[in-house]
Subunit: 373 residues, 4 copies
């Protein structure tokens, strides 16, 4: 059995004055290789990633690896424990509404300043190393600002300080009621086929605060700027980062977790993280969209909803997505009404409650999707 290490990272303290910790499991490779960082449950109700990490650990106990693999389950000790009714109110800070996955660090001007310091003589590895130090120093500086920093960014930055050393970062999430899907930066298109995830969203170099973006936007922007400064050199993007959404929140399933762990290991194997592993991606249909074609269908009116289309289902324009009951109209023709697909789509996820106000995210859908060969 491979040796591995458990540590605890203190990320917050609560109103009782108690420290709050995150467990970190660390596997060291026998040979050099990529550094991998995988975390789960930054959104407290999205717990399936913890099961995936459990299965990853079970596998890694007996498989030789290259480089390093760091696994951080249940990485949000605040969000995991905010109950409101029977469910976990884990998507945002209950005090101010801030999404737990929107406070990571990215500043374009740091990259500009850094690029100014790079010379034509610097090797790629030198640049990479120096940039890493620079960003980590900036994160450290944010965390120690005199006037302080909010809870969500504080948590995010402490995790990012761990993650930023990695060449591969995977953030494990779940949708509300969802089918498997994955966010992939456009430059890493090739990697999308090495997971066992049938729905792929290609995202551009735009930072909105999430961990995957906070990783790849740094490296992508750096590569772009260096390529502009030194057009004769080929600056590759050395880091890949993904958000994996593995089914629905509020439930865990060990069998599904095993399947998803295998998918991640297949990708890691493709990336030379594993030694002597024999893992091939599943032969499944994969559909992709660009981010602009990942659409949200909002309700126009409040009411009680039966979701007629399951996540993963392909729907033609005009077909029924949902059936709405209007309790004030049970004596007339408006008792039941329907919500139709505005165009051809694949339903990826839907709202987890039958009771909706107007303006609710009813379905998130792929339109203009295309097969990944």
């Amino acid at each position: 059995m491979n040796k591995f290490f458990k540590e605890h990272l203190t990320v917050a303290s609560n109103a009782s004055g108690r420290k709050m910790h995150v467990p970190i499991y660390r596997f060291k490779g026998e040979e050099p290789g990529p550094k991998v960082y995988i975390q789960s449950s930054i959104h407290g109700a999205e717990v399936q990633g913890n099961v995936v990490i459990y299965h990853l650990i079970e596998y890694l106990k007996t498989t030789k690896i290259r480089g390093e693999i760091v696994l951080v389950p249940n990485c949000n000790p605040v969000g995991t424990n905010i109950k409101s009714g029977e469910y976990t109110l884990g998507r945002f800070d209950p005090i101010n509404g801030q999404n737990w996955n929107r406070g990571y660090y990215f500043k374009e001007e740091l990259i500009n300043d850094f690029v100014d310091t790079v010379t034509a003589d610097d090797s790629f590895e030198q640049v990479k190393h120096a940039f890493r130090q620079q960003v980590k120093k900036a994160i450290e500086a944010e965390l120690s600002k005199t006037w302080g920093i909010g809870l969500a960014p504080r948590l995010n930055l402490q995790l990012q300080a761990q993650a930023f050393d990695a060449d591969i970062v995977i953030d494990l999430h779940n949708g509300p009621v969802a089918t498997r899907h994955i966010y992939v930066p456009e430059y890493a298109k090739e990697s999308a086929k090495h997971f066992n995830i049938p729905h792929v969203i290609f995202i551009p170099n735009q930072f909105n605060g999430a961990l995957d973006e906070a990783m790849f936007c740094h490296w992508w922007t750096l590569a772009d700027k260096l390529s502009k400064k030194f057009p004769q050199q080929k600056w590759q993007i050395p880091v890949e980062a993904f958000t994996l959404e593995m089914g629905s929140q509020e439930v865990i399933d060990f069998d599904s977790g095993s399947y998803d762990a295998k998918g991640i290991l297949t990708y890691l194997n493709y990336k030379n993280s594993l030694i002597d592993a024999n893992l091939k991606p599943e032969n499944i249909n994969r559909y992709a969209v660009f981010l602009k074609d990942y659409k949200i269908l909002y309700t126009q009116e409040g009411g009680i909803i039966e979701y007629k289309v399951k996540p993963g289902q392909h729907v033609k324009q005009g077909e029924v997505l949902a059936k709405v009951l209007n309790v004030d109209d049970l004596d007339n023709d408006n008792a039941v009404s329907y919500i139709y697909a505005p165009e051809d789509l694949i339903a990826i996820l839907h709202f987890p409650s039958a009771s909706v106000l107007c303006g609710t995210q009813l379905y998130k859908c792929f339109i203009n999707y295309f097969p990944l060969p």
Copy 2:
């Protein structure tokens, strides 16, 4: 098509100062017969009853009835609309935690006082009529007390004032993740077979604040006391009241709703509420327990849970009910642990979230159950 009437009952006003209404649908019979009162969604997230009422109305539009049938969907306009995260926090008043189904009226001393006024010459119908007036007057008095009354009892009492005229009261609920079950007062055992509900809980004459109890405890206690006072007369309990739990909260399903509506109509037909209806109970296995054998299994520790047993499943003592992931112990033997059935049981419902603290209602179960012939 039968004529029926829609009214709105004002039950509350909110912080904007706006009145909050409940719709009431009323079918009048062509012949005398029982008065029926059916409400749904006193717990805001338990919305399937609204679909059942929709199907009842569809059926009653074309079926002749005796007596009167009153249908009150979405009877809690406060609880229905309290969102906290994506779910509906509808089981209790968010201000003080009071369960929306525990504030109905019942006072034994009112019954004592009433029994004192009954004479041997009073006919059963006279007694029944007078008692109804008495209780409704008492409810009215509660509602108009100088110092006022809390929101949950206020809502409850306004609904009870509507319901107390009825001979048959059905309160439509859902469990968290649940299979169909029904609460039946012990004296109405015979009626349990006329619904299409496989799990039956027989409840004693004990008032804990719920609507069904607020109905049958009044009549049951009255009959008991009159039988004691006039032992030579046979005082029957003239009213039946039930809580029906039809599957899980937070979802609606029109097909299931149709099935449950048919079950209720079958019972109403058995009670002579319908004219010329041809409805027979389904030939299903029915299992029953006494209330004391409807047990709650609480968690001993917090953690992340996979529910291995589905509601409705029969489980032997010692079999696994749930599998627990302990994220702090992924490096040791405690990574996964199990929760076992403490005795033979039928799982009726389980908690709707994988994330639990210690002391959480993990499963509610039948033990010492027996078949209903």
Copy 3:
């Protein structure tokens, strides 16, 4: 400086699987004397009691005591940390609405069974000791039931197991927006004058789940039953228990805390808990009511409220308590309306938010109050 001891009691575990602890500070006396148990913040937002305990400890560091004094601040690690918006949702379990101060243990039949075992030869001290063991054994049994126990009673019972050894129990609370008041069992009327609390509620021997009741109802009922069984003997109630409400929730104030600590020490001195202390109750006006005269004024309509009467204020029947703004009626005479005192009263506390639904506890008031000489 007196030596004292800090321990931690594990009372729960959360969804991360982490143990949750309560600190216990224990002072041992130099001479025999009463055992005292004081806890604070069972309701998570009622934090001022923690400051009182801080001041008690500062005092006790340098004062010699008799018996034992046990201090348990922040005794609810769950409730203390449930934020919802900026405030602390600490009055009830967010999962099921159960009030954190209603799950303590009391069963009359245990007392009946115990009284059956007492003989005329048993000394008072023997009876007292045996009863304590009996109740503590029963609490232990509750906590280790096969099917488990809910979170609130679980927490309550673990605290009660600590408290039940004590002769004096004080549970430190706060009202929403409140003036100082204290709940005193009717038999301990004399003690009410030894605190520095101007508003006193005398409560009967009725158990509703709170800690003070869970203490005194046991001993009061025992004394009553023993007096009935052995009418020739004088069975005193050997234990006193109080709920102290020291001002408003959501705030702390070290100066007020010092004042309240001094009041408690004055009472403890009167009870011989302190050696060589020179503490006298303040010369203040004290007003008392019986519990039935501690009335709640509920709103009849929702709206936005200015509280015109401060807690502690004496109000005549018909005087304005509150002024209501009705935003839908700013064009007519209903723009502003008033809520009047239904009878002469002392306002003790009011709701902490201007925004109210109908059925909100607007004010809690003393009526038929009388001075404590």
Copy 4:
């Protein structure tokens, strides 16, 4: 008495399927003049603005005006009614955490496109009129998008469609526990002295989603771009918009409301909105900062806090802002600790609860402030 009109604008529908309305009060002037739009309580717990509008209406009933004044109290019927515990969870959508004051419309490219269509011959009034139509059309288009729009932006846009006609827009807010302060766009510096608000924040032309920004960023950006395109012409910014923060949330006070109404009327008078009014600004000290100097002090650790500095207080570097109680350390020197002012400051607001996690916004402060002459 002046005639004025009440309408209701339907802005949402809830899970019961009920329409939700906002009242609008409209005063028409006797002479031409500026259009004024004032709303309150977009954050549901910030209710004092409703009282201010009440007083404005009382005043306007008997004062002649120019132009038009539109008053929209309680403009968020969703946020106003979300209770969680006793308080109002009104700052953000409880479903997704979105701040109710961050979903207004602003798109720079619309302005670019518009500026392309302006010719040197167009009069200022023509440009102004055409731009207004353009923006309102864009808002309309957003609201009727096929895939819909979220609840917060939906509400915001409907209000903005009302507000965008106005030359003066005032959004009435409250802080948590706060002193009066006002956000003023830098170009409207002069106007800051005509309110009776002692603390002024000058904000740049940056859009973060709030109503005031959604107003002035449009006009400011337009003026800047037109000035660049037609450097010989002087393009003034024709619209002023402010966020007024009048004390603390969760309370109303009619006297303060009267004072603040008078301040607003004084400003409106200065802007020629009133006829024959004799209103002068109060002679008070006014302090201002630029937005970058309006700093948030975050907690570094969780604990229980006594706020030692009141909003409005001037504090020197190193003075105590807050005193922290650490319940786990009552036996050692860490029992009480202090939080100090990191530099000279004016405290403007503080967190409304004593119980804080790390990363909580403890105080918001002015640094580098200067007097407004």
